[in-house]
Symmetry: C2
Subunit: 494 residues, 2 copies
């Protein structure tokens, strides 16, 4: 009976992954005129996967299996999680899922068009329509206290507005203290980042960095896209994308390391559980912890560049031979309020996330409408970061998420950074030579720890439980604050 | 009711095209470890498409629609063709289709492996298994006279062993006369083709040639793969692939023009018929006529190079500035028996096809088994072409088709070349300035004629009827023989 369940789930996974291939292609290689039919094709696959996963026969099988007591712990957990997913999915009709998929396709293209025109107006109506559907979705899924909880649940099961508000209210004043402190220090010169860096050499450097991180190119690849992302079609085929700005070397580098962190997680998930919940990641918060631990704790750390700056200099000798490792380290970590989330430093980053989180919450509860977004956005960038947003492209059009219908996602970006700091502290406790090893180009310590404690666990535990199991505590802001205080005290020491 | 049929058919097309995207990706970008799961994913999509297309509800709908008399001619034809397809598909069980898809995946990888090892032995067993399934398929589909008819029917409806044997028996002696005649002439020097031609410049040249042919890069793209092919996911997204050999400039060039001809056909099919038979090509014979008319009648013609050699010289001045257009034209058309079908001249090409056709016929009727292939192959290359096959890679492992389970396909290659010559003669009759226009870089005459007479007809007519409608006659070998005689008399005139 378990084998029957496994077969059914694998076939559903085949359809979902097929849809993911079509989406990957859409963002990397699809010729423009192919887009309308592609939208239909993806919608049809979503509909089929949904129909299969809400089939009463599967439901009956899951209930029967859930009542059995001769399953292994892993089997039991798979069944339990599938049953939870099944119950959730049953709440959405196939017709609704198709409508959503089509609305997402339309709004994605409206967003791309709006970016070209640098005008939110083009995106506003399709986004409005999408949000009406997301509100319906929240109602259909059901929630306690706040409709936004129903949506966040998709990205981090059990996460609530109350929890996030508490964490953000705890974090915000501490970040403001740090930020105020830095504002009084001499600004760091990071102008070396903005020389001309040739596209091809940047690409080669990024590919080599992925290799050094442990990315398996036999089980994945990198391509170019407008907005970098990671996707996978099994743990044996994990794809990252990047973008290259020839006038900003950092743009590619840390996005590449970031996606590389996500990709290592996907490559490390148990392949033998293909199609079953235990082959899946824990939550998007934990997923983000895996990208942020590489991007920031490691990839913006001094030890990492003690090893990798040599390589970078071979590609860009003219630009970087006169920059010392210490100068480089400080330059890539300078803190300054800025417009683009994905380019923000580790401190101000959280404010970017908090603003989007607030907007989503207000949109879903109906306090504001899409037409209010640019004004709200610009006002809060002024309020928290003290900067003026010059246009929509560098303002509320910068992220792809809303166009994808991904509401409830943003908070996981901040939580991910916080989890990353807490995990990194745990790895350091267990590997006393960690930073020396990284400086020697040996990433085994990090790789093995993450594999054992995070990757191989799949979706067995909730974010909270996984964190507790791996670090001894649930998520605590003190780890991020400690990490940031130590780091920026050093960087802004004179 | 017709709208309901259309919706159902479009959803089936969505699944089939999704599967085609996964296959395209498999041959262009898939990382090696991703292959096993990819095989499963493609098999699952095939199974779903098959289930949907053999659904009794669709059958009932088709029967009802077929009995109606208020449909337009196009609607009527769509329904009629879908009903024929439905009846054919009902003969194969979902289970069988899945088994076939999995066997194909295995044999494709065995073939790739066998090529690496340069040994047919690795491929023999998986191929044997596949052929057993093909025999079963022929039985399930039903046939008159010869089981191979059931398989050829998939590629050119109504084509039989009797017809092909008659055509080949008519063609063969005439070709042998031509070939013998050429053997007595001085061999042509085509050594200029085998200098070093840089990969990147070859790529750029190929892309420009596709543009000049009229390939719409907003509705398609070109990538690299081991074996060049054309695929499409709607007429708005048509993909060609090519391969580049730096020591053989011709390899890329005419494969690129060949696939470009296929691609123009796909891009010219009526987009508004998406998912319905009238959006589909007539037959593989006609498809091949579209690639061969461009590759040979046009792309190996003197007028074409009177215009395009200038461009080619800009990429390869050192290699080609001393070669006159006439020398170039003769060099690219030199006739000599050779090992590789896709690199063969227009005369010997047909023998390559005839040998494979014979082998397939004998395998399917059970006269020989897969273990006999290399010996049979090598013996007949000696017999017809007078050459010794040095190894399997340059012998019976060279084509991808068997590994894909494409039995019944090869004859269409010869028929395609013959149709091409007949169509080209018809275009010339209607466009008296045709060759002058081509020499001026103006391909409008060809493009418009093919669009009107071939592309826009979709699958409305059979190969035979389409040919008759377009040229006034059914397929006649005289057009190919006339074309070849005129061409090679000129080329081998002194």
């Amino acid at each position: 009976m378990y084998a029957d369940y496994k077969t059914k789930m694998q076939k559903i996974a085949d359809v979902k992954y097929a849809s993911a291939v079509l989406q990957w292609d859409q963002e990397t290689y699809l010729p423009p005129k192919g887009n309308d039919f592609r939208g239909q094709q993806i919608a049809t696959l979503s509909e089929i996967a949904h129909q299969q996963f809400t089939d009463e026969k599967l439901g009956g099988l899951l209930l029967d299996l859930n009542a059995k007591d001769d399953l292994s712990a892993a089997e039991k957990r798979n069944v339990q999680l599938s049953l939870e997913d099944y119950i959730r999915n049953k709440r959405l009709s196939s017709d609704f899922v198709r409508k959503m998929s089509e609305a997402v396709n339309k709004s994605y293209h409206a967003w791309a068009q709006a970016r070209t025109e640098n005008s939110f107006a083009t995106f506003q109506q399709p986004l409005h329509h999408l949000i009406q559907l997301k509100k319906q979705e929240a109602e259909m899924l059901g929630f306690e206290q706040h409709p936004y909880n129903a949506l966040m649940n998709d990205y981090d099961k059990g996460l609530t507005v109350t929890t996030v508000d508490t964490i953000f209210n705890d974090l915000k004043p501490q970040l403001l203290v740090l930020l105020d402190d830095i504002k009084n220090k001499t600004a760091i010169d990071n102008s070396f980042l903005h020389q001309h860096f040739d596209k091809d050499n940047q690409w080669k450097f990024g590919m080599e960095i992925l290799k050094r991180m442990g990315f398996d190119f036999e089980a994945g690849r990198q391509d170019l896209s407008i907005h970098p992302f990671t996707t996978n079609f099994s743990s044996m085929d994990v794809r990252v994308t990047t973008r290259i700005d020839e006038n900003d070397f950092g743009n590619m580098t840390w996005s590449c390391i970031h996606e590389g962190g996500h990709a290592l997680y996907e490559q490390g998930l148990p392949a033998e559980q293909y199609g079953l919940p235990l082959s899946e990641y824990c939550s998007l918060s934990i997923h983000e912890s895996q990208s942020r631990i590489w991007e920031n704790c490691i990839g913006r750390g001094l030890p990492f560049w003690q090893h990798n700056l040599k390589l970078l200099r071979t590609f860009f000798p003219v630009q970087l031979n006169n920059i010392t490792t210490e100068q480089f380290y400080k330059g890539i970590n300078s803190v300054a309020p800025s417009l683009i989330r994905t380019e923000a430093d580790e401190i101000t980053y959280h404010f970017h996330v908090m603003i989007r989180y607030e907007i989503e919450k207000l949109l879903i509860e109906g306090t504001i409408d899409t037409i209010d977004i640019p004004a709200y956005w610009n006002e809060h960038y002024q309020k928290y970061l003290g900067i003026t947003v010059p246009d929509d492209k560098r303002g509320c059009l910068q992220d792809i998420h809303w166009s994808h219908g991904s509401f409830g996602y943003f908070a996981t970006y901040s939580l991910g950074s916080m989890y990353a700091a807490q995990l990194y502290a745990a790895i350091e406790r267990e590997n006393t030579s960690l930073e020396k090893d990284i400086a020697d180009g040996n990433n085994k310590g990090v790789q093995e720890w993450l594999k054992t404690n995070i990757y191989q666990q799949g979706r067995y535990f909730s974010s909270e439980d996984l964190c507790k199991k791996a670090t001894g505590e649930t998520l605590q802001s003190k780890y991020f604050i400690r990490y940031a205080t130590k780091k920026y005290n050093h960087i802004y020491s004179q």
